[in-house]
């Protein structure tokens, strides 16, 4: 199957990679994925990836945390076992609210942070004991790898990638090492 063939172009510098991405995009080739040893600033924009919606989920998780804290403290401190602390036995959540603000704040942060990380893992299909997806272990050290799908244009693509400063170009049959 021709469509499952991909080209792996390897770069050794993030600036070179960035300009290569722009050139490849300008030639209207489809970049499947890029593997980098560290986050490259602006790469998502250059690749034309849709902006992340993780921030929206973080906001929603924060709201959940705030609600949980409010309900929890109302149950513990007002309904279930009211106590006279510091001469404030008012048995009213709103009047004792300042004392609960730190808890409300902490749980907002806790929920937002943890659930956001978990969402990120799920969304990137990562879980414990999963085999690594990166096609070349060097991308965890000092190499950058760009994966481009091939549609009967191996020749021109290879030449284009060579021009952009790729140090190594491999054509891979995806079926062979399919997961």
């Amino acid at each position: 199957m021709e469509a499952s063939k991909v080209i792996h172009a390897i770069y050794t510098d993030d600036d070179v990679l960035m300009s290569a991405v722009k050139k490849v995009k300008a030639e209207r080739h489809h970049i499947e994925e890029i593997y980098t040893p560290f986050p490259v600033h602006g790469l998502d924009k250059a690749m034309g990836l849709a902006p992340t919606r993780l921030a929206i989920t973080a906001f929603l998780y924060g709201c959940v945390g705030l609600a949980v804290a409010t309900v929890m403290m109302n149950f513990i401190m007002i309904e279930d076992w009211p106590q006279d602390i510091g001469g404030k036995p008012s048995f009213s959540y709103i009047e004792n609210m300042p004392a609960f603000v730190p808890i409300m704040f902490e749980l907002t942060v806790f929920f937002a942070a943890h659930l956001m990380v978990i969402t990120f893992y799920l969304r990137s299909r990562m879980w414990p004991f999963k085999d690594a997806e990166n096609p070349d272990p060097r991308t965890t050290d000092d190499h950058f790898l760009m994966e481009i799908s091939v549609n009967n244009n191996e020749e021109s693509l290879t030449n284009l990638l060579k021009d952009t400063g790729a140090v190594e170009i491999n054509i891979i049959d995806k079926d062979e090492d399919a997961h």
Partner: protein, 446 residues
């Protein structure tokens, strides 16, 4: 890149100052009331159905006390209100004066941080910051003049006899603090602070300009600026803290809060960054500052957001500890504010926290200019109220109102601020082209 203050702006600023001065003058004339005036005012208030303090005092004591006591108490109350009425124009002037001074001082601290941290994103904004900080010296001097003449109208610890044992006004707590809280000490400290800040302002601007004309390989002025900025920040963090005790916290001489200096600093920084953003956007709308891009505004927006949260954190920390411990000498501070200043006190928290939190949370909104301006107006209004809540309860008590004296003072100092800042902006090119980081700053993108 040259900017010259336009005639329209200059005349506008002068008109603001004249209007403000008229308002301030009216405030002083209006507050010139006699004992009898206040007596009639109070009895009229109680006739209007507003249950004033004097009415309830009279009711409570009328039945049981002898006539003499009653008359004394009445006289004392009227005198108390009379003082509050007299204090109001002074306090209004002091609040507005401090508010605009604090903007310039906040920018000065922010500017020093940029130099000391050798920030790469901000050099294109340096001239804007330098323009704003030129208000530190004139604004500071004017504020001290107001403080000098306001005397016990703002600083109750300057009342005659407060530290003399046996006097009618004697106050043991203030007397104990008089080694620190006395007029001479206050002004010696104030002059040292202002001299230090203005010296840094003068030299940092001088080196920044000298760097523009220096040889491309000569970074000596830049290095000097780095060194004096680091030194200034050490000086500043001590003096700012002491300044906040002296100039603000001392208006309630019985009360103290250990994080007060930080609290004032956070308000200062958020106002300073807001004004930097607003002036940059204004100059950009005139087609100047061509190197300032969306990302710079975005970063200023982040600082506005962050410092607003920081301010809230400190406001709440101060409030919660005092509220929880409920120690009489501390908690009266908040009881006065919650009972007599309910709307400005809680309204200010909404303006300074909830508005910036919701308006600036979205990343994209921080680079929409009109959004930053609108949020900036809310933040500045909120922080004016913050200063208002710090000074007014101790000086005018429940006789507060944002009327002609307050608005007049804002217009006067606001006009002066605009005049000085925009005149200073027009003196030198708007790009600090000699700064070694200016290229990085020009290409800054997020």
């Amino acid at each position: 890149m040259e900017y010259k203050i336009s005639n329209r702006l200059r005349i506008g600023a002068i008109i603001l100052m004249v209007l403000g001065a008229l308002g301030v003058g009216y405030g002083f004339i209006d507050s010139h009331k006699s004992f009898e005036d206040v007596e009639t005012m109070l009895s009229e208030e109680s006739h209007h159905g507003e249950v004033s303090e004097v009415a309830s005092v009279e009711e409570a004591h009328g039945a049981s006390n002898v006539e003499g006591d009653h008359a004394d108490e009445h006289k004392e109350h009227v005198e108390h209100v009379l003082h509050q009425v007299h204090n109001r124009p002074w306090a209004a002037l002091y609040v507005a004066g401090f508010f605009f001074f604090m903007i310039a001082l906040g920018v000065l601290a922010f500017y020093a941080i940029q130099h000391a941290s050798q920030a790469g994103w901000s050099p294109v904004l340096f001239r804007v910051m330098e323009g704003i900080t030129s208000y530190v010296l004139p604004g500071g001097i004017l504020l001290l003049v107001v403080a000098f003449f306001a005397d016990s109208h703002v600083f109750i610890w300057l009342t005659d006899g407060m530290t003399t044992e046996g006097s009618h006004n004697y106050d043991a707590l203030v007397a104990n603090k008089s080694g620190w809280l006395n007029k001479t000490g206050f002004f010696i400290r104030a002059i040292i602070f202002l001299a230090g800040w203005s010296a840094y302002q003068y030299f940092s601007r001088k080196y920044s300009l000298a760097q523009d004309n220096a040889d491309i390989n000569d970074n000596s002025n830049f290095k000097k600026n780095f060194r004096i900025s680091a030194g200034f920040l050490v000086f500043f963090i001590y003096t700012e803290s002491v300044m906040s005790w002296d100039w603000i916290m001392s208006v309630d001489p019985h009360w103290f809060s250990t994080l007060f200096g930080w609290y004032v600093l956070s308000g200062m920084l958020v106002c300073g960054v807001t004004v930097i953003a607003m002036i940059s956007i204004y100059l950009k709308s005139k087609g100047l500052l061509e190197y300032v891009n969306d990302s710079h505004i975005h970063d200023l927006g982040k600082f506005m957001f962050g410092f607003s949260i920081f301010w809230t954190y400190l406001w709440f920390s101060q409030f919660m500890l005092i509220w929880y411990s409920n120690i009489p000498e501390e908690v009266t501070y908040f009881i006065t504010r919650i009972e007599d200043y309910n709307l400005p006190f809680f309204g200010m928290v909404a303006l300074n926290f909830i508005f910036p939190l919701l308006l600036l949370m979205n990343s994209d909104f921080k680079r929409v200019n009109w959004f930053v301006i609108m949020t900036g107006i809310v933040i500045l209004g909120g922080h004016y109220l913050d200063i208002f809540n710090m000074i007014m309860p101790a000086t005018v008590g429940d006789r507060w109102f944002i009327g002609i004296p307050e608005i007049g003072s804002i217009l006067f100092f606001g006009g002066l601020f605009l005049l000085i800042v925009f005149t200073a902006l027009g003196k030198y090119p708007l790009l600090a082209k000699g700064n070694p980081f200016v290229k990085e700053s020009e290409h800054f993108h997020y």
